[in-house]
Amino acid sequence: MARYTLRRLIGGVITLTIVSVIIFWIIELPAGDAADIYLAKKFQGGSTLTLKEIAAVRESFGLNNPFLVRWWDWISGIIFHWNFGQSLVNETPVNKLIGDRMLLTTIIIFATLFLTYALAIPIGVYSAVRRYSITDYTFTGVGYIGLALPNFLFALILLWVSVRYFGSSVGGLFSPEYKHSGWSFAKLFDLLRHMWVPVIVLGTANLAFQLQTVRAMMLDEINKLYVTAARARGVPEVRLIAKYPVRQALNPIISTFAFDINRVLSDAPVVALVLALPELGQLLILSLLDQDTQVAGAILFIMSLIYVLGNFVSDIVLAAVDPRVKLAG
């Protein structure tokens, strides 16, 4: 087990390293680098600049170094000091812009996944046990719509309904009075009151997907001989279902845990933009619209980090839960 964990850990680190190279390449992709933007800002008035001065600025920004050296400067700052550098557009540190957005994003992800599993597992199991019942048809139908309704459209529609029929917008994560205050129980409570909208919006598609997975897995398992054998031994039905096929049906949920994180991370930015949520994804889009790739790159990296960590945890948990997982892999 320790060997397996170590291998997975090393694999994750290698993946993250290559990911960081790609992200750094994206940071430098737009025309005009940090020095250009800096100079354009500094000399907006139209004073003349000698080529020598420009070269000096470029040198001081380290832009004359080879790509890999520039990358190392960037990534070592993150690894050793958790420092993402300066925003290209306004001269604030990226860390300050990110603030507690990372925490909010993490909270949203976990709340969404919690909701997804808390609903998908019981409903999926029920649908499979009572196959072709009205409940089954209803949830399967709702599931299809959940899969087909893109998150940002769902958010837009909710927004419209809330404004049209309830007279207040469902946007935001905090009431005005808590927006800038420090963390407190009152603020946490306020967050919970606002968070259900994005959580439902983000959770629906995932719920639909997991519902189908659990149901399909249950249907596969429920007719197997070990279930029949247990029934023949006289194990009560509820206990039988919970102990045998459900245990099997949960494995794909654990193994797709990281995939779910990825999906929520992928969908969250647009939803956050529509609902004006002060979290990472919203800042990502806003900074990309400003061509502030330094901020955007930092966020992309954090998102990938969250995903790779989730993947690692899901691998370990799956190996612990399901003894059939080959520990050599």
Binding site: T15, V19, L149, V163, Q212, P269, I285, L288, T293, M303
Partner: protein
């Protein structure tokens, strides 16, 4: 997966003898036909394909044409009943504009020659794939899309409120349209013989000349000046807006059709790019195996480690502002392909790996068939259907990615119309509140995604040669 719950367990449509000698494609088709939802979806999708080719023909107007008399106008219902069965027509619209209450519309139901829906009318010129020109459009109202002056209806004056000075000359001008029968749409509205229209709203009665374009006619001097100036105009004749108009008076229905073409085309281009990359990488990995396979697997893992949509956005943000729309279009689809190839590559790889040791492939190899023959005669027919299925499942993601990208403002840009660009207008709460019909493109997106999901399910079940035939 779940399609089986929605369609009843199928019945075989071919009898056993015929099934035994049917070709592969015939069997696939037979199985596919049993999926009612998949068949319906296929029908809906062929409508979308028709739109892709004939958007300009079906759309009554161009994507940028403006009807300045009907800004932020709600969708117009097509009526086939007007006190009795009537030819399809839309309500006459009177747009009332005032300093305060802008865009407040008053609608009068009535059959008027110019509000009748006509088939195959002349309109804006369009070109079909650069092959031929035409100015025919499927439908429209009125003969031309030029505002037509209406004949003034005889006045039904009961004389409440102020009345305008009658110069007595009017009336003769209008000749063509005889709406003045018992069904007169304006019977309830006061008019004087000059064709001036009086309309009582909340006690305020003002008059104005019968409107042509432009909308903003000034009220006559003798209008009651105590009330805020409400100007009544009739919207231009000969425009139909099935799904309303946006803030610039552009016809939402026409724009959605044109957007459908853009979005589906770009989705297809992205899918094609992804397919080519996925085929190369997946094929190489699956066919050669070994360290190449390992390397490609790691590469796929890396690409998948960065959340998809943020990655697409990050790449698209690098588009220079001065790029032409064609260039943005092209590179958007390239990006979609660059990010979306991993699923395809994985499926192709695993398919090839399974086939590599399949009995019939081993048999062919032992019988002395060369690699080319094995690939083309034995492997390809087996996994071709899987590729089709995979493509059908992947396509909605491409469409969605483009919509999201354009929606947030990083993809296609304004003069180009795509679903995402259209929805961009609906991003603000205030806009949504005033003009909820701007959400209409959402319905088109949801329907196409649903249809592709069902089609994918149907194809997957149909293509599975090991499915037990009942």
């Amino acid at each position: 997966m779940a399609a089986d719950t929605l369609t009843k367990p199928p019945k075989a449509t071919l009898n056993a003898d015929k099934l035994a000698e049917a070709t592969q494609w015939k069997m696939v088709w037979t199985r596919f036909k049993r999926h009612r939802l998949a068949m319906v979806s296929a029908g809906i999708l062929s409508l979308y394909v028709l739109i892709v080719f004939f958007a300009d023909f079906v759309a009554p107007y161009g994507a940028t044409a403006r009807d300045t008399n009907y800004l932020k106008g709600p969708p117009e219902l097509v009526r086939i009943w007007d006190g009795g069965p009537a030819r399809p027509h839309i309500d006459s619209q009177i747009t009332i504009r005032g300093g305060v209450e802008d865009g407040f519309a008053y609608s009068v139901s009535g059959l008027d020659a110019n509000e009748q829906i006509r088939w195959f009318v002349h309109g804006k010129k369009w070109t079909f794939l650069g092959l031929f020109d035409s100015d025919f459009h499927l439908f429209g109202v009125g003969d031309e899309q030029v505002p037509v002056e209406r004949q003034a209806a005889p006045s039904v004056s009961s004389g409440s409120g102020t009345s305008s000075s009658s110069s007595g000359s009017g009336d003769a001008a209008g000749s063509g349209n005889s709406a003045a029968d018992s069904n007169d749409p304006f019977a309830s509205i006061e008019r004087d013989e000059n064709g001036r229209l009086k309309l009582g709203i909340g006690g305020a009665t003002t008059t104005t000349t019968e409107a042509v374009v432009p909308a903003a006619t000034t009220p006559p001097a003798d209008a009651s000046s105590a009330e805020p100036a409400i100007i009544e105009t009739e919207s231009a004749r000969g425009f139909i807006h099935l799904l309303g108009t946006d803030g610039l008076g552009r016809d939402q229905f026409s724009r959605i059709l044109v957007a459908t073409r853009t979005s589906l085309t770009i989705g297809l281009a992205g899918l094609f790019t992804a397919f080519v990359i996925g085929l190369v990488f997946g094929g190489v990995a699956g066919f050669f195996g070994g360290w190449i396979d390992y390397f490609i697997q790691r590469l796929i893992e890396v690409v998948r480690s960065i959340p998809t949509l943020p990655l697409v956005m990050g790449l698209a943000a690098a588009f220079p502002q001065d790029w032409s729309n064609q260039k943005v279009f092209f590179f958007t689809s390239v990006i979609l392909g660059l990010v979306g190839w991993t699923t395809l590559a994985r499926r192709i790889r695993s398919m090839l790996l399974t086939l590599h040791d399949a009995d019939f492939v081993v048999a062919a190899r032992l019988a002395g068939a060369g690699p080319f023959r094995i690939i083309t005669r034995h492997m390809l027919p087996t996994f071709f259907s899987y590729i089709v299925v995979t493509l059908a499942i992947e396509f909605p993601y491409m469409i969605l990615a483009e919509s999201v990208l354009s929606f947030v403002g990083l993809g296609l840009r304004a003069p180009t119309v795509s679903w995402g660009v259209l929805l961009q207008d609906a991003q603000k709460v205030e806009v949504l509140e005033q003009t909820p019909w701007l959400l209409a493109p959402a319905a088109f997106i949801v329907i196409v995604i649903l249809a592709f999901n069902f089609l994918g399910d149907g194809l997957r079940d149909a293509a599975d040669p090991y499915q037990e035939s009942s």
